[in-house]
Symmetry: D2
Subunit: 161 residues, 4 copies
């Protein structure tokens, strides 16, 4: 069974392209690629890009396009890497528009490029969730895995619980 | 609910103490401590040490002591960091001797101290498994989570599947 | 003899403060602190902050203030961490206004927070330069150490030579 | 002008080959390769291997062979990565047997594979030394660069000074 990773942007994929006369944090290649190289996983996978956006800039149309992208695929299990600010909104939209597939949304508080990033831990959690679950839309963040209906976020600390 | 992490040694915790006139890779503080600092997790936890051994050196007595340690605790959920060579043996022993608790065994192919280590991903997977499972003994390695009865290892590649 | 490190901002010190509802790359604590912890150096040092700016935003006044700061100190040797775009301008200004002290300017193409950063290598080079030189203003970048009068930059590649 | 890096082993190049049924810290590819990729240096270079040994195991014959190797090359400047315990012995031997070339010896207290390694800083220092010096045999460690005649080591702390 093949696992499909979908990049949508967010902190996890922020990179720092080298430029002269100016600098910028921009979205780079999916961090998922680098993390899976370290894991050497026991499953087949494909990494695709839906879009590259800060999650506050994701629109309803983006979310519908994402649902359509997932529905158009023959695979059963998907991990979406996503900005941390609107994961619940995306999870709710996908719950409405996708049936009989498993989707786990994750992301990171620090870019994967940072040596103190949480990205490998969060992605590891999302992967384990796809190993144990069958269908539904879930968020895997900060060590917990919950459905869009039950997960909450502390807006002061940024922690999902 | 508090999650208990138990160090038993293994590659994940290999460190390189600074010495003059000689060098050594020895077991250091639990890598779990450093990984959880990066995650900033949404759960309470405690990290304890059962022993610090290469997994080929773990004896039947060590495994019984480990089961006893877990049975003596009031908590429900445990993650054991463990050398990769005898995870299945330990999982089978704990399955026999522990009832009504959840135990997830994980480890790493490269020490957590290495920048290219798989340790944060593997531990993230084990943590997610404790978020989704209730009781039983499981191994979380290489992106899959399976019970001691169903998991296998490819001895050529070292991959659990 | 005490070596004084002066933070002025630049890519080397870009960090990613955790926030909800928005994200930002901002200047953080001097990367020098974290690099020197790894080195465990054989010299005494102090780390101070002059200002925290992208080097394209450094003004003539900032440069004069920096010269004044250095002239006001009793120490002989200084390393300035600096954005990579105007190192030569700063070096020329300091050459004019400081006599009988040694100043080595360095920086990085990627923030020290990135695991693939050049920062530790560049700072190591600047430190060695202070071990070998007595007075003057130098730039240590990309593996070469030259005075402000002789160093050049390839504006296509960003490389100093 | 081309800089030649010579691997001789030592902590800097300790790696952890993946194996099942056993583990080992062994010498791997020169860490210099990975460090120079991060630096993107402004000079031409070549990386060669003389031998791969813990520095306590380097013999007088190894040192003579190393001197011969360097004398046989047309290049002028060499950096030797070396175990930290017998750098001074090697520096003295090379001082005796090599004339009119520049040799800078460096190494690390922790393997370059470790995220908290000093290796990139130490190698950066050695590189800067080759940018500033013309001939002689030097050790660049812990932030200082000195000739084999003047450098000392504190055997309690391992620090060169």
């Amino acid at each position: 069974m093949k696992l499909v990773f979908i990049q949508t942007g967010g902190t996890i994929d922020k990179d720092y392209p080298q430029k002269t006369k100016g600098w910028a944090f921009e979205f780079g290649e999916p961090a998922t690629t680098r993390i899976l190289e370290k894991l050497n996983p026991s499953f087949e996978y494909e990494i695709i890009t839906a879009f590259q956006k800060d999650s506050l800039e994701i629109t309803d149309e983006d979310r519908l396009n994402l649902a359509q992208l997932i529905n158009s695929r023959s695979e059963q299990k998907f991990i979406i890497t996503h900005g941390t600010d609107t994961m619940i909104e995306t999870a709710k939209c996908l719950t409405e528009h996708i049936k009989d597939k498993l989707i786990v949304i994750t992301g990171a508080m620090l870019p994967e490029r940072f040596y103190n990033s949480d990205a490998p831990i969060q992605l590891g959690a999302a992967i384990a969730a796809t190993s144990l679950l069958k269908t539904g839309v879930f968020i895997a963040m900060h060590g917990i895995v919950k459905s869009s209906a039950t997960i909450k976020r502390n807006l002061d600390t940024g922690l999902y619980y």
